[in-house]
């Protein structure tokens, strides 16, 4: 039996709801969840074998959602961080400024043609500033506790004319979506090392390199105490329990315990 502590912001809801829906699917995993909005998780500090909130607001929020603001790390085999800003959106944000020659013939407005190596370095720097990376350093910086960061899901596919995902669609249209996904994966791993390992989004949840299939997004739940409130129907950022189940499958495989499907 592997004991996991799964931390996350709103994206932890996908994993928590999956576990709640199929508690027997992962017999080799003993999972505790701790979720809160980003600001509260940022206040978590590791003190010896305990991860605890340090400011009253974080204590209040964590306690309200999880029943406690202190999480024991003794006996935990790995801490899993999910969501927490480590997302493809960061890559797209960097690529608004820079692009490398394999992607385009000529850069777009406000975009500079530079080397892939420079783009990668800029992306690593951006990802190192994410909440996920900060938490990973706080928890696993000294190597005492293994930390895994599961990618925040890519946005849900909304169609060719989704203005809110214009940059993603541009990458798809110009044919560099795969290159973008690859540099994000590389940079995420580099940004987390050596404090944590990066766990990419499950392949079967992807529609192309950049989007989540709608069936893994529709019906996603909000992170609440009772996990009973769905996101608005037009939410395209969060994944659902089916997605969460596949991430838990990945974790079970990493732990060497096959899930029951």
């Amino acid at each position: 039996m592997s004991r996991l502590l799964i931390l996350g912001n709103s994206h932890v809801a996908a994993l928590k709801s999956a576990h709640g829906a199929e508690p027997g699917r992962w017999p080799g995993l003993d999972i505790a969840f701790a979720g809160a909005a980003g600001g509260a998780l940022d206040g978590l500090r590791r003190r010896g074998g305990v991860l605890e909130a340090t400011d009253p607001e974080a204590v209040e929020q964590l306690t309200a959602l999880n029943g406690s603001a202190r999480f024991a790390l003794d006996g935990v085999d790995a801490v899993v961080i999910t969501g927490c800003e480590l997302s493809m959106f960061r890559a797209v944000s960097v690529l608004r400024r820079v692009i490398w020659p394999d992607c385009v013939d000529s850069p777009g407005p406000g975009q500079v043609l530079t080397s892939r190596a420079f783009v990668r370095e800029a992306l690593v720097t951006a990802l190192q500033s994410t909440l996920a990376a900060r938490l990973a350093r706080e928890i696993g910086g000294d190597g005492a506790v293994p930390v895994i960061v599961a990618a925040q899901p890519n946005p849900c596919w909304l169609g060719e004319d989704a203005v809110q995902l214009a940059a993603f669609l541009r990458a798809r249209r110009l044919g560099y979506a795969t290159r973008l996904a690859r540099i994000f994966t590389e940079a995420a791993a580099a940004a987390l090392a050596p404090a944590a390992a990066f766990l990419p989004q499950p392949d079967e949840t992807l529609r192309g390199p950049l989007f989540t299939r709608p069936k893994y997004s529709q019906g996603s739940l909000r992170l609440t105490r009772d996990m009973a409130k769905p996101h608005e129907g037009d939410d395209y950022l969060h994944a659902n329990a089916a997605y969460g189940a596949l991430v838990l499958d990945q974790l079970a495989t990493l732990a060497g315990t096959a899930p029951r499907r």
């Binding site: 944000s93 394999d102 530079t114 080397s115 892939r116 370095e121």
Partner: protein, 382 residues
Amino acid sequence: MDCADRLRKRAWPQRGGDDTLVPMDHPYASLPPTAFWSTGTAGADPGAMHAIHRPAVRIGPATRVATAGSCFAQHIGRALRASGVAVLDAEPAPAFAVPLSEERLRAFGYGLYSGRYGNIYTARQMLQLLQEIAGGEPRTEVWMRGSRAHDALRPNVEPWGLSHAREVMALRRAHLHALAAMLAECEVFVFTLGLTEAWENRETGLVYPVAPGVIAGSYDPDLHGFRNFRQAEVRADLEAILALLQGFRPGMAMIVTVSPVSLSATASGEHVLTATTRSKAVLRAAAGGFAAAHPGAVDYFPSFEIVTNPAARGAFFAPGAREVRPEGVAAVMSVFLAAQGLTEAPPAASPAAAPGSHDGDEEDGGEDRVVCEEMLLDAFRR
């Protein structure tokens, strides 16, 4: 006291044959104190040699300036920017929400000069670049280091190298395009001459900034030859540089200076000290002659003299006697900026008043650190 000093001091009064005092006249009698070593140099503060330079090419806060040259030139661009001068940058660092550190940006060649061309050590290298910009098509070679590709004409601006030769050429094409636009705007081009020694491709004549094999590429004695440019060659290259620059923008002026940084290594067969002296003498003579031939269009600025001033007793040099300490850079730039009226002359950065113990911090960090691939040669010392 030297002969000139004696002459000056004896100019007035002299005792006549009838024991009366009579004035004597000679060419040194009415020269200013700067004309005499005792007052101009030995008696002057080497950290505040403000009388050494009267600019023939003026730079104001709105003047569009471009900089290029050897490592030392990085200090010039930085000081000009700090004083509010409009230093052009054809390839500015992208502004990210989470910015890269200045150090990392410099490692990628951003913010060093007015474009990502890296250090340009020789006049021939500068000339080649301008010819390439004018032609619009890359004339570089691709050097490999393992599986990574490097632009042979700026191998150090990509610390990790590039993915493949196509990326080298695509980025160089964009580089040339950006530089052409920048030069069309430039009013004053500041160029720091660093070396006369270089390595070239014997077949194409392409001169490299660093020997093949040091950063990337591989040295082939049949293909790669050593060049040690003579004064006439440097001068001719400078003339061609000016003509090309004024082709990009008519009326563009130049300020040339000579880096005081010694050679890291020489391939000339000479001792590195005599090779350095030869190199700097050639550059100084070429620069001086070039400036004199183009009054009002080309100016010589004495960086070399300010740092190597014997009155400073070597105090402007960092441990190792090659790199210039921040006080030396400050001495140079305070003269430059004050002469241009860009800033009040700062308090003298006298080496005598500088901290007496140098722990070598200047060599490995701090704001004044420069990116200098020539230093890599020392790493290959056997």
